[in-house]
Amino acid sequence: MKIGTIRDLLEATVICGEDMLDNEVHSACGSDMMSDVLAYVKDQAVLLTGLVNSQVIRTAEMMDMVCLVFVRGKKPTQEMIDLASDSGMAILATDMRLYEACGKLYVNGLVGNGRKA
């Protein structure tokens, strides 16, 4: 799925990474707990979260993720946007709740941990 398709499905705004909308991603995960992302996530390219602090960006960077989606209308700070831009990550923001946003992506074919949708 293209990052641009994620934007369309989630009716999201692009906070940074406009140039990455044509990039393909193959899996995603959703969590507000960065400890769990670090413990359980493997090879997911997209993180959906309602947690807003710099550690979200660093956690995503450690996991080699390329796209962050903030849910529930959360907006990242400028410092977070700068960190993400430096690391070559796109940031999207949507008003949808985490469950709904994950569900929309999943039924449209963006899988989780290696399992088929």
Binding site: S35, D36, N53, Q55, R58, T59, M62, M63
Partner: protein, 140 residues
């Protein structure tokens, strides 16, 4: 690479926002050295967890990453409160982190188990009231 390369960092314990900066820098340095992405991920996740721990529990500390021909060593040393029961601390889900730390997305009791999971060797030396030194090795 015949000689070891050493990266040294002072980890600031005052500011949770900046926690993880050393790990990000290590990741960049290892990329420049041409280390494989999977090894880089192991090293940087293990170090990041350790760095977060040092900030949450110990008021900061020092981190050294030693890259040699056959392995990467990560040594994290702090002068924090120490770990009273290391076996207990190694259990998944056990945490002494406060609710304020949990609200920041950490403190699930996965840090130390995760560090062990992502490395080939891990030893913890800790003295209550004096501090903790963790040494991790990822083989190349």
């Amino acid at each position: 690479m015949s000689e070891s390369l050493i990266f040294h960092f002072d980890v600031d314990g005052e500011d949770f926002t900046s926690a993880g900066q050393a790990s990000v820098q290590v990741k960049k340095n290892l990329r420049r050295l041409g280390i494989s992405p999977e090894i880089i991920r192991q090293v940087s996740i293990a170090m990041y967890e350790g760095e977060i721990n040092m900030v949450i529990h110990a008021g900061g500390g020092e981190a050294d990453v030693v890259v040699s021909e056959d392995k990467i060593e990560i040594i994290l040393a702090d002068k924090g409160p120490g770990i009273a029961d290391i076996d207990l601390a190694m259990q998944e889900g056990f945490s002494t982190a406060t609710d304020s730390v949990r609200s920041l997305g950490f403190g699930a009791g996965m840090g130390l188990p995760n560090m062990k999971r992502y490395t080939d060797e891990m030893t913890i030396d800790s003295v209550v009231g004096e501090g903790t030194t963790i040494r991790m090795v990822v083989n190349l």
